[in-house]
Structures are given as structure tokens and as C-alpha cells.
């Protein structure tokens, strides 16, 4: 099958690769660029395990062709920490036991980061609604929601805790 060139920046590093036009972005990241932190959990864009940021917005990378990312900036879970310093969401997921098997976690963190970019001070209900596209089978979401709210507080610095809405 013929290939086409794709140039993209992933976690700040530039790449130029030849790909089949049908290659999914998630497989480019995982199989060609060895960024295996982004996972695949379904075939239908339901589970969100493959969530990455494409030009600053969360996308499900199993539903984006690699060629669609030509010229784009991609950020994956591997690009979230600043050296040894964890991103506030990573720290909060750890502190709050926001993960068990860890398989949905990278996608969940990337989706939550996008949510907090758009809404830095969400209510519990807004977090729950905002993570609707990411499935977790282990945690029942309880500690994931707690972690996202805690990360929001941490990112807000001195901001007083947001009142939690009724579930």
C-alpha cells in the first residue's frame, strides 16, 4: 500500500514519518513512535483510553487518522510531567487512589486536563459530565472525580474549594 508523509510534533519533539493513509494516530504513536502510554480499549470511540491532545484539545486518537495530525502538535501522557515533577492531575490521581489497573488512566488524565483547561474550577457534576466519554471499570469513578476536583484546587493555588453539587 502506498504511503504518505506526515510531519507532526509530539510532546515537543518533531517527527517526520511515512504512513499508510489509513493508519490511526494511536497506532502511529504506539507502534512507530514507541509512546505506549496511550492505550486502545474499544473500536467505537466509546472508552477514551486513547485520549491525547491534538493542538491543545482532547481527541480520541483511535478515531483520528495519522494524516489528519499532519502539521499538528500532539501531547500524550508521556508529555504531562515536567521532568520528575508530576502534573497536578498525576499527583492527585496518585494521592486519591484514582486508578487501579491503570489502563484507562492515561486517557482519563488527558481528558481531565482538557476539562480543566476549559473549566478550571468545575463542580462535581461538571467533572462527572466532562468525563462521560472515558470509561473505567475498576474505580467506580469515585476517586477519579475526587482527584480531578483536588487537581483543580491545586492548580487554582489559593482558590477556596468549590462547593460540591448534589450528585
Amino acid at each position: 500500500m502506498s504511503t504518505v508523509p506526515v510531519r507532526l510534533t509530539v510532546n515537543g519533539q518533531q517527527h517526520e514519518v511515512e504512513v499508510e493513509p489509513r493508519l490511526l494516530l494511536v497506532h502511529l504513536l504506539r507502534d512507530r513512535l514507541a509512546l505506549t502510554g496511550t492505550h486502545v480499549g474499544c473500536d467505537t470511540t466509546n472508552c477514551g483510553a486513547c485520549t491525547v491532545h491534538l493542538d491543545g484539545e482532547a481527541v480520541k486518537s483511535c478515531t483520528v487518522l495519522a494524516v489528519q495530525a499532519d502539521g499538528a502538535e500532539v501531547k500524550t501522557i508521556e508529555g504531562m510531567a515536567d521532568g520528575e515533577k508530576l502534573h497536578p492531575l498525576q499527583e492527585a490521581f496518585w494521592n486519591d487512589h484514582g486508578l487501579q489497573c491503570g489502563y484507562c488512566t492515561p486517557g482519563m488524565i488527558m481528558a481531565a486536563a482538557d476539562l480543566l483547561n476549559r473549566n478550571p474550577n468545575p463542580t462535581e457534576a461538571e467533572v462527572r459530565k466532562g468525563l462521560e466519554g472515558n470509561l473505567c471499570r475498576c474505580t467506580g469513578y469515585h476517586n477519579i472525580v475526587k482527584a480531578v476536583l483536588d487537581a483543580a484546587k491545586a492548580q487554582q493555588g489559593t482558590t477556596a474549594p468549590q462547593e460540591v453539587s448534589a450528585p
Binding site: E20, R22, L23, H27, R30, D31, L35, T36, G37, T38, H39, V40, G41, C42, D43, T44, N46, C47, A49, T76, I77, E78, M80, A81, L86, Q90, F93, W94, N95, H97, L99, Q100, C101, G102, Y103, C104, T105, P106, I109, E124, V127, R128, K129, L131, E132, G133, N134, L135, C136, R137, C138, T139, G140, Y141, H142, N143, I144, V145, K146, P167
Partner: protein, 792 residues
């Protein structure tokens, strides 16, 4: 936290702490290593050609077009396989005949369910093998299909496997007490038919296999709960010595029972690797997963209960018709009988009988899914308790209290011969009611009624059986499992004083690396960060029996504690010798082995390890080294228990159910790490709410799987759930030295009855008295309309 007694711990007090997990740094940074994250030089890819028919003869298979494609290395069908035997089923109950069909890696002559594999395609690219699989031409001659287990038992039904002359797999019973006398003395007898529908495990990581044959050694990485079982069966089926087979369960992305099996894809890929001399990887798609990763539940439970007018239950009879699907995987026919072991619930019912009928249909096999038999039992018991209370005009909780087994700290023998280890059911219920006031919910309900919202509250008081398992009870001469129930642990102290624990259990998210490290650290006077926990690799530690049935802590954790104690005992002997004291006077205090009463005289573990590995001054006759092993076989199961409550709002116009509150009080003995317990309870409850409200594996009458992707199979999302309220009581188990019970399945076991009772409670003012799961808007709306006498 009310405890009946404080647990006996020692050392530095890490046990009981809500420590954040040692596993997490790699997982939150994308550095975990799941099967598909591992690749080998020269690796090929596998794809499976699967039957679109639920039941058919295979007339012909033409693989020529597929083989002719670029990059395709081989296409195999059943005739190519020289595998020594069919896939295993491990239950041989004494005195019971089980009709077990052969279940081959690739279908032999006929297909029996949608997804039955008929060909295996191997090639050099993950996309290319999928293309080639579509080019394999299979001609089928359809056969009659049966998908309803009750219809399958009728004479004249299509037969899934002709050779048995019936679709019945087996009948199996467990009972005790005088059932006839119990019903004779009852003032009230009620009967209910309760359907516990088929669900999926739903682990977010699909299954996957990577197999390598190098020299005369086979290495298989598999997303499995049971690497040790898999090694054994790879050895048996492929005829390779067990000593030359290594199975690694790397990071496993959830399992919930669904990866407790020996799957065709694992054996097939390993076999193909030996034939082609190339590593072979297969990664399941979600559509495959919902089709050919085993399902769970799928029971029709016919319940008959007798009670006195004052609520005293006199007899309980359950008939289970279990739809086991077309073949039997590792434990398929054994799962429904597990329901029988907890059919007494938390009640002193004098006569209890469970009759199980396992049935074949043209569906994928069922097997263990989170709870495995106990969710089904608890659901039918606790839903029936509410039905009985309604019949008697009695308060639901009063009926439960009337029948509770009184508190006990040592074995309580039930009429069916199962001995509960310890329990205090009143205490758990009392604790629950400190968090939730039914009268307050009632008054809220009245306020909401005018808005068309019907608020209800439901309860469940439960016990379950876990800590699998005492070998003499479950083994070949007992229940009939062809295996034991012990667990192994090795504690290896290194020369510099850090330690490695090798456990035979194989976690997939539970947090063993943290919890087990806490146990070992306390016994050796070091920090949990100094205890590395190795699991899931058959080449590293001794034989183990892996992770399922809430067994890891109660059996594997106890083995770890015992191995650590052996190390500590040897350390004490070394310290006593070096400090010229009596070994009986050496104790562990603040990270040092000291002479009692003289804390200034002591040795840290690192000093002891130095002495053990540079053996210039060891006691006479003592071998060097500080490395001990334990194989622990429990005397009894353990029986966690608890009380759950749920508040729901039902929109009478749409039938939509909202879970407003969920409160859980669970007792799994003394906590090793409360953070991990809460996490297990949250996830367990959610699995139950998923089944009760959203999820269903649904086949149509032609045997087509209607819910074959996450578009149709509705896992719960964050938006559909509340935050949970959890609390614990702590009643130690007398079975193990830690006093612990299991908690991995408790939430799932208690949850579906809790929410179902809440929905029925909400709908009673509308005349609805019973409704089967899943409580989808359509089904709830239909029930409301049926009660009104309107269209359904």
C-alpha cells in the same frame, strides 16, 4: 470504626495505613507495560476468522486468497492443528455426570456460537492480517439454534451438541435441614422467578497474547489472571515440559473474572509460534471481546420461601436454571453451584436446598465474572426478603433482624454444612443506619411525588464466601475442582537489607504491590518502599494459584505473612546469637530486632542480612542466607459481610432511574490498607449498578449478539453515578493470622439487590411489586404501564 477486637500487628505499623500505591508512578506517567506495549524482533500478528452463524456445519474453507496476500505467512484451520487435546474444563464433581463437549482452538466440523473461530491468519502487519481474514471464504450450512435455556430443556429442542441427546449439562444439588417440615410449618409461602441476566466482564484492556518459541523454550505474555494455570495447560496441550514454559502476566488492565480462563487464542498463538518459529502477537478488539471473552451470570432463579406470620423463615428452596452457553471453559458448569454455598445468606433458616440445572445454548460460554455465583445468590435472597416482607406486611429491616444469625466469633455451622468463620450482622446494619435514615428518605419521597419523581430506598444485608480455598473442601474429592486452593510466597532478604516478596497471586489492579509490602515490612522492621513485590511471572517464584474469588489477601497475603515470619524468626535467632541473648527475648521495635527491655542493644534487618550472607558468626548448624518460603492452605473459607443501602429517584414518565445515594458498610476484617478497600468497594458497587441498571449481553433468537460493542453494551459512566458513602466494621476472621477476609467482590455481591429493592420500593405507590434487571428506562416504563393496566 467499631471493631470487635484490635488486630494483632507488629513492627512499624504500616499495616492499617491508607498508603498511596507503589504501583502508581509508572501507571500515571504512561510507563506501564501491558501486553501490547511489548514487542519482539521478528514479531508476526494474528487475526481470527470467526463464525457469523450461531450454529452451522462448516461445508468448506477456502484460504487461498488470504494466503496469496502480501505479508501473509500462514492461514491455519482445524485440520492443521496438532494440539494434543481440546481446551480444558476443570470441574469433575464426584457422583455427578457432566456432559462436556470437546472445545477446540479452531472449530471442528461445526460452529456452535457466533464468534466461534474457524481459521487463524498470521502475517507481518496488524492491519494486513485483518484484511486477509476477510478474504478467507467459509461456506456454512446453518443448523437450528436455541438461545432460551428453558426452551433448550424441552423435548424436541434443537440440540447444541447432538451426541448428548439433550442440552442438559448436569444437575447438582446442595441442601440441609428438613425442607418439607419447614414448608409444612410455614404460615406464608411465596414463590418468585428472578432472572439474573448475562453480563460481560468489561475490563478496559482487551485480552492479548504474545508468544515466543526460542530454542526449546516457550514464553507467553498474556493479559491473564492465571499465569500459573496457563503455563500448566500450555505444557499439557502443546506437549512441552512445564519446566520449559514461562508465562508472564505483565501489567493486566482489569479482568473481573473474564481473564480467569484458558482461551483458544492463548493456546493457538503459542502453538503457531512453535510452528513458525516467530513471535506472534494477538490483541483482541472490543467487538471480539464482547463476543468471545466469557460472560457471566445468566441464571433463571426459581425461589420458594416459607415463613411464620412473625417473620421467622422456615424453609428456602431455590432452583437455578443456568444458561452456560455452547461449550464449557475452565469453570463454566461449576459457577452456578457456587451460588448454593451462600444460599443461607445471613439468616438462621433451618432448611435450605439449592438445585442447579446447567444448560447448553448457542451462545458463548459463561464462567466466573466478579462474584461468580454469589451475586446471583445474594440478589435472589435479598430481593426475595423484600418480597416476603411485603407479603407479611412487615418492615423490611425488622424481617432481616428477626432472622439474623446472632454474632459469632468462631465457626458457625449452617444447615448446608458450610461453616461461616465470624460475623456480626446486626452491627453492620446498625452502622449503616447511622449514615442513612429511612424515615427521612420517606419524607423526601412525599415531597417529590408532585414532580412525578418517585423516590425509593433499598437495602441488602449479605455475607459471601471467599478466600479460595481449603483444598480438602474444593479439591477433586470434595467439590470436584481438579486443583488445590493454597498459595505460595517467598520472602528474600537481600544482603543490604531490602527485601523481595514473590507471590503466587497475580493482581490486575488490586494493589498487591502496596498491601503485601505493608504486611512484609511490618514483620521485618523495614519500610514498604524497601519491599518489592514480584508477581505474575512463572519463572520468578514458586508455583502459585493466581488471583480470583477475593482470595489474594486472605490466602496469598497470609502466605506472605507466614514467609515473612519465618524470616523474622531466623533473624531473631541470628540476633540472639550475636548479642548473646535468648531468641525468645528478641523482639521487633522501631525497625530493630532488640533484646526485650534493652532497646539500645539491637540489629536492623540490614545488619542481620549482613550476618546471614557473611556467615562468620551464625548459630551452630544454621544455614546461611535469609530467604524463606511458605505454602499456605487455609482450613476454611472466609466470609465477609455487610449492609448496603441505596436511594433512587424514578421518573414515572420516562422510567429513568437516578441513583441519588449509595451507602455501603462492609466488614472484611482488619484493614491492611483502607484506601485499597474503599477502591475495591467503589468498583464492586459500580459493577453491580452496571448490571442492575444498564448492562446486558443480549442475543436475539437467531443467536446473533446484539450488544457487540460499547455502543450497545452500556458500561456505566461517571455521569450516571453518585459518589459513594463507605464505612466499615472490623470483625477478625479466626481463619488466618491477619484476621482478614476478602473485599474484591463484596460490592458487586451486595449491589444489585440493593438498587433493585430501591427501584421496587420507589414504584410500589404505582402498583409495581416486582421487576427484573436490567432496570432500563424502557423496562421500568413498561412495568409502570402494566401496573396501570395500560400499554406495555
Amino acid at each position: 470504626m467499631s471493631t470487635t477486637e484490635a488486630p494483632a500487628t507488629s513492627g512499624n505499623g504500616h499495616v492499617g495505613r491508607a498508603m498511596r500505591r507503589k504501583e502508581d508512578p509508572r501507571l500515571i506517567t504512561g510507563r506501564g507495560s501491558y501486553v501490547d506495549d511489548i514487542s519482539l524482533v521478528g514479531q508476526l500478528w494474528a487475526a481470527w476468522v470467526r463464525s457469523p452463524e450461531a450454529h452451522a456445519k462448516i461445508v468448506s474453507i477456502d484460504t487461498s486468497a488470504a494466503k496469496a496476500r502480501d505479508g501473509i505467512v500462514a492461514v491455519f484451520t482445524h485440520e492443521d492443528l496438532d494440539i494434543e487435546s481440546a481446551l480444558p474444563m476443570a470441574w469433575v464433581p464426584p457422583g455427578v455426570d457432566v456432559n462436556t463437549p470437546e472445545h477446540w482452538v479452531l472449530a471442528k466440523g461445526e460452529v456452535k456460537h457466533v464468534g466461534d473461530p474457524v481459521a487463524l491468519v498470521i502475517g507481518d502487519d496488524r492491519y494486513a492480517v485483518v484484511d486477509a481474514a476477510e478474504d478467507v471464504l467459509v461456506e456454512y450450512d446453518p443448523l437450528p439454534v436455541v438461545t432460551d435455556p428453558e426452551a433448550a430443556l424441552e423435548s424436541g429442542s434443537p440440540l447444541v451438541h447432538e451426541q448428548f441427546g439433550t442440552n442438559k449439562i448436569c444437575e447438582w444439588s446442595l441442601g440441609g435441614g428438613d425442607l418439607d417440615a419447614g414448608f409444612a410449618e410455614a404460615d406464608v409461602v411465596i414463590e418468585r422467578r428472578i432472572v439474573n441476566h448475562r453480563i460481560a466482564g468489561g475490563a478496559i484492556e482487551p485480552r492479548g497474547v504474545l508468544a515466543e518459541w526460542r530454542g526449546d523454550r516457550l514464553t507467553v505474555w498474556s493479559s491473564t489472571q492465571v499465569p500459573h494455570f496457563l503455563r500448566l495447560f500450555l505444557s499439557m496441550l502443546l506437549g512441552i515440559g512445564e519446566d520449559r514454559v514461562r508465562v508472564v502476566a505483565p501489567e493486566v488492565g482489569g479482568a473481573f473474572g473474564s481473564k480467569l480462563n484458558i482461551y483458544a487464542e492463548e493456546i493457538g498463538c503459542a502453538w503457531a509460534a512453535t510452528k513458525l518459529n516467530r513471535p506472534i502477537k494477538w490483541i483482541e478488539t472490543r467487538s471480539e471481546g464482547l463476543m468471545v471473552t466469557h460472560h457471566g451470570r445468566d441464571q433463571i432463579d426459581k425461589v420458594k420461601v416459607g415463613a411464620k406470620r412473625d417473620g421467622t423463615i422456615t424453609a428456602w428452596h431455590t432452583t437455578i436454571i443456568a444458561d452456560c452457553g455452547a461449550y464449557q471453559t475452565l469453570l463454566t458448569p461449576m459457577i452456578p453451584p457456587l451460588s448454593a454455598f451462600v444460599m443461607c445468606g445471613v439468616y438462621k433458616t433451618p432448611a435450605v436446598q439449592t438445585d442447579v440445572i446447567d444448560v447448553m445454548t448457542n451462545k458463548f460460554p459463561t464462567d466466573a465474572i466478579r462474584g461468580a455465583g454469589r451475586p446471583e445468590a445474594t440478589h435472589l435472597i435479598e430481593v426475595t426478603m423484600d418480597q416476603l416482607a411485603d407479603e407479611l406486611g412487615m418492615d423490611r429491616l425488622e424481617l432481616r433482624r428477626k432472622n439474623f444469625i446472632p454474632p459469632f466469633n468462631e465457626a458457625h455451622e449452617t444447615p448446608i454444612g458450610v461453616a461461616y468463620d465470624s460475623g456480626n450482622y446486626e452491627m453492620a446494619l446498625d452502622r449503616l443506619l447511622q449514615h442513612i435514615d429511612p424515615a427521612e428518605v420517606r419524607s423526601q419521597a412525599e415531597g417529590l411525588r408532585s414532580e412525578g419523581i418517585y423516590r425509593g430506598i433499598g437495602f441488602c444485608t449479605y455475607t459471601e464466601i471467599c478466600g479460595n480455598a481449603p483444598s480438602r473442601i474444593v479439591g477433586p474429592g470434595g467439590f470436584g475442582l481438579q486443583g488445590g486452593g493454597w498459595e505460595s510466597a517467598t520472602v528474600r532478604v537481600h544482603a543490604s537489607g531490602t527485601a523481595t516478596l514473590y507471590t503466587g497471586t497475580s493482581p490486575h489492579g488490586q494493589g498487591h504491590e502496596t498491601g503485601f509490602a505493608q504486611i512484609v515490612a511490618d514483620r521485618l522492621g523495614i519500610d514498604p518502599s524497601q519491599v518489592d513485590v514480584i508477581h505474575g511471572d512463572t519463572q520468578t517464584g514458586p508455583f502459585g494459584l493466581d488471583t480470583y474469588g477475593s482470595r489474594s489477601l486472605a490466602v496469598g497475603g497470609e502466605a506472605a505473612a507466614r514467609a515473612a515470619k519465618k524470616v523474622a524468626d531466623k533473624a531473631k535467632a541470628i540476633v540472639a546469637h550475636q548479642l548473646e541473648a535468648d531468641p525468645a527475648d528478641i523482639e521487633l521495635q522501631d525497625g530493630k530486632f532488640i533484646v526485650r527491655g534493652s532497646p539500645e542493644k539491637g540489629m536492623a534487618l540490614a545488619d542481620v542480612a549482613g550476618a546471614a550472607y557473611v556467615p562468620e558468626n551464625l548459630p551452630e548448624g544454621m544455614e546461611p542466607g535469609l530467604d524463606e518460603q511458605s505454602f499456605y492452605d487455609p482450613d476454611n473459607f472466609v466470609f465477609p459481610f455487610g449492609a448496603h443501602a441505596c436511594v433512587v429517584d424514578v421518573d414515572a414518565e420516562t422510567g429513568k432511574v437516578d441513583v441519588v445515594r449509595y451507602v455501603a458498610v462492609d466488614d472484611c476484617g482488619p484493614a491492611i490498607n483502607p484506601l485499597l478497600i474503599d477502591g475495591q468497594v467503589h468498583g464492586g458497587i459500580t459493577h453491580a449498578l452496571g448490571q442492575a441498571l444498564f448492562e446486558q449481553i443480549h442475543y436475539d433468537e437467531a443467536g446473533q449478539l446484539v450488544t457487540g460493542s460499547f455502543v450497545d453494551y452500556a458500561l456505566p459512566t461517571a455521569a450516571e453515578l453518585p459518589s459513594f458513602e463507605t464505612d466499615r466494621t472490623e470483625t477478625p476472621s479466626p481463619v488466618n493470622s491477619l484476621g482478614v477476609k476478602g473485599v474484591g467482590e463484596a460490592g458487586t455481591i451486595a449491589g444489585s439487590a440493593t438498587v433493585t429493592n430501591a427501584v421496587i420500593d420507589a414504584l410500589r405507590p404505582l402498583g409495581v411489586t416486582y421487576i427484573d434487571m436490567p432496570l432500563t428506562p424502557m423496562r421500568v416504563w413498561q412495568a409502570i404501564n402494566e401496573a396501570k393496566g395500560g400499554p406495555q
